[in-house]
Amino acid sequence: MSAAEQHKRTEKILEVSNLHTRFKVRDGYLYAVNGVSFSLDKGEMLGVVGESGCGKSITMMSLIRLLPPAAEVTEGTVLLDGQDISQASSSEINAIRGAKVGMIFQDPMTSLNPFMKIGDQLIEGIRYHKKLTRVAALEKAAKYLELVGISNPDHRLTEYPHQLSGGMRQRVMIAMALIGEPDLVICDEPSTALDVTIQAQIVELVKELREKLNMSIIWITHDLSLLAGMVDRIMVMYGGQVVEEAVTDELYRAPRHPYTIGLLKSIPSLKTEAGSRLPSIGGAPPNLFAEPSGCPFAPRCSFRTDRCTREVPPLTPLQAGESDPLHRVACWVDVQQQGAAQ
C-alpha cells in the first residue's frame, strides 16, 4: 500500500470532539449529550447503539443542528470533510443539509408530506441545492427511485404518499436522502418501524447502495444484533456518553464495558435453552437532569467501585497489543480481569 493510498484510506469525513447538547426544561436542563467524540472515515459505516433516550439520535441531529427549539449545542466541534461546521450560520447549515449530509428517519409513514406528490418531495432538496430545472430534477428522481428498487418510477413520481406501502415509503425516504449525493448519510433507525422481512430488505438495500455510491453511513439503532455483518465499527452510547467503541467483530468477541456485555447477553440466540429467562440489565435508564458526576452506568453496574460514582471515566484506548487498536472503552474497571477473578 502506497503512502497516498494509506492517506486516502484514513481520510476522515467526520470528526466530532467533545460535543455537548442540552435541553431546557421546566427547572433547569436535561443533559442529553455529554462530551461525545468520535470520527468516521470516508466510506466507513458506523453503527451507533444504545437504549431509548441515551442520546444517540440527538448526537447525530446535533451535527447538522436539526434540533427542537428547546435544545442547544453548548460545546464541541464538528469537522465535516475537514471543515468546521459547529459555528456555521443557519443558511450555511441549510446548504449542508441534504447536499452533504443526508438523513433517513425512523417512521416512513409520517415522514412524507401527505399533500405533496412523491416526485415533488424527492426533488425538494436538489432544486434548492443544485439549481436544477423541474424536468431535469424529476428525471434524476426517477433514476434514484429505480436505484432504491421501486419499479415503474415515472409513474410513482406522480403518486401521493398514501398510495404507497410502508416499505415503499422507506425506499422513497432513502432515495430522498441520497438524491442530493451526500458524502455522509445518517440513518436514524430506518428499519425499526417496518416488519422483519421489509427490515431485512431495507438493510440489504443500504448495504448495496453503500457499495455502489461509496458513502459514509452512520446507522443508529437500539438493536445490537442488527449491526452484525452490516457495519464496520460500533459505538455504544449510554447516558449521553460513548461508553465503548470497537470494530464490529471485536466488540462482539471481546466487549469491555459492563453495559455492552449486558446488551450482548440480552440478545436471544439459537443456543438459548427453551424456557430459560433472557438476561436483562436491572435498574432504570439514568436521570440526566444533572451533569454527570460519575459513570452514568454505575447505579446499574455489578462491577461498581467507589471511584465509578465519583469520577466520569474517560473514553480511553485499550492497552497496546490488543487485536483492535481502535477499541476504546470508558470504564474504571478492567472487566475482563474482574470477570476472570469472579
Binding site: L66, A95, T110, F115, Y128, N152, T158, Y160, M173, A177
Partner: protein, 317 residues
C-alpha cells in the same frame, strides 16, 4: 411484443387529495344537500334585487297582513310589505354580515393564533391568556356595550359631517349598523379561529415530514408554504363553514334583540322580532324568516360536518 401489450401504458389512476376529499364529500348525501342549499342561498343573496317581485320597502297599505297568495307568495307584513322580498333581502344581509364577520375574525385569529403556535413559550402563554379572557366575556354584553357606546356618537358625528359638508356619503347611516355588527361579532368570534389555527400550527410544526424537509435543507418560508399551511388548512375550512352558519344565527339574535341591523333594512332577526308580536294572528309573518334561518343553519351544519369528515384523514375508513 406480447409482453409489451400485456403491460401496456400504465393507466393514470392518480387522484389528488383535493379530488379525494371532494369525492368523499359528494358521497355524503346530507353534505350534498347542505352544499346545494348554501349555493342557493349565495345565488339568492347575490342576485336578490333581480329576483324580488317587489322592493323590500314598498308598502301597500291596502294589503296589510295578507296571507300567502299568488301575488305575495309569503304574504305581507303589517305595513303591507312583501315578505318574500324581505326574506330575500334578509339573505343578503345575512350573507354580507356572515362573510365579513368570518373574514375579520379569521384575520385576527390567523395573526394571533399563528404567532402563538409558531413561537410557543411565553408568547404562546400570552396568546392563550388573551383567548381565554376574550372567550370568558359574555358575547351579548360585548355587542350591546359596543352598540350603546359607539353607535350614537358615530351617528351624531356623521350627521354633523353631513350638515357641515353636505356630502351625501354622510347621510346614510345604515352602514354604521353593519360595521358595528361586523366589528363586534369579529371581536367575539376571533378566539375560536385563533385556537384552531394555533393548535394546527403547533401540531404540524412537530410532524416528521417537517423535520425531514428541514433535513433536506428546505428553507423556512418554503416549509411554511408547502408543508405547514396545506397540512393545517383542513380544520380551518371546516371552521369557516361552521362559523358562517353561526354568524348568521348570531346576527339574527342581535337583530332580534335590537342591537344588530336596524329596520327598515331587513334582517331575518328583526323580521322574526316583528313577527313575534303578531304571530297568533298572522303566523306567516313569523314563519317565513324563521324557516329561512332554520334551513340555512341546518345547511351550514350539514356542509360543515361533511367537510370535517372529508378533510380529516383520521376519520377516513
Amino acid at each position: 411484443m406480447t409482453e409489451l401489450a400485456i403491460q401496456g401504458p400504465q393507466e393514470d389512476r392518480q387522484i389528488s387529495l383535493v379530488q379525494d376529499a371532494f369525492a368523499r364529500l359528494a358521497a355524503n348525501k346530507l353534505a350534498v344537500l347542505g352544499m346545494i342549499l348554501v349555493a342557493v342561498l349565495f345565488i339568492i343573496a347575490a342576485f336578490g334585487p333581480w329576483l324580488t317581485p317587489y322592493d323590500f320597502l314598498d308598502q301597500d297599505l291596502m294589503a296589510r297582513n295578507q296571507p300567502p297568495s299568488w301575488n305575495h307568495w309569503f304574504g305581507t307584513d303589517d305595513l303591507g310589505r312583501d315578505i318574500l322580498s324581505r326574506v330575500i333581502y334578509g339573505a343578503r344581509t345575512a350573507v354580507v354580515v356572515a362573510f365579513s364577520t368570518v373574514f375579520f375574525s379569521l384575520i385576527i385569529g390567523l395573526f394571533i393564533g399563528s404567532i402563538g403556535g409558531y413561537f410557543g413559550g411565553k408568547v404562546d402563554a400570552f396568546v392563550v391568556w388573551l383567548i381565554d379572557i376574550t372567550m370568558s366575556v359574555p358575547s351579548l354584553l360585548v355587542v350591546i356595550v359596543i352598540n350603546v357606546s359607539l353607535k350614537p356618537s358615530m351617528v351624531n358625528w356623521m350627521d354633523a359631517k353631513f350638515m357641515e359638508t353636505g356630502n351625501e356619503f354622510y347621510r346614510n347611516t345604515i352602514w354604521v349598523d353593519f360595521i358595528l355588527v361586523f366589528g363586534s361579532m369579529a371581536l367575539i368570534k376571533w378566539p375560536k379561529a385563533a385556537r384552531i389555527i394555533r393548535g394546527q400550527i403547533m401540531s404540524v410544526r412537530n410532524k416528521n415530514y417537517v423535520l425531514a424537509a428541514e433535513a433536506l435543507g428546505v428553507s423556512t418560508p418554503n416549509i411554511i408554504r408547502r408543508y405547514v399551511i396545506p397540512n393545517s388548512i383542513g380544520p380551518v375550512i371546516v371552521y369557516i363553514s361552521a362559523a358562517l352558519g353561526e354568524a348568521m344565527v348570531l346576527e339574527s339574535s342581535f337583530s332580534f334583540l335590537g342591537v344588530g341591523v336596524r329596520p327598515p333594512i331587513p334582517s331575518w332577526g328583526n323580521m322574526i322580532s316583528d313577527g313575534l308580536r303578531v304571530w297568533q294572528l298572522y303566523p306567516h309573518v313569523l314563519a317565513a324568516p324563521a324557516a329561512a334561518l332554520a334551513v340555512v343553519t341546518i345547511a351550514f351544519s350539514f356542509l360543515g360536518d361533511g367537510l370535517n369528515d372529508a378533510l380529516n384523514p383520521r376519520q377516513w375508513k
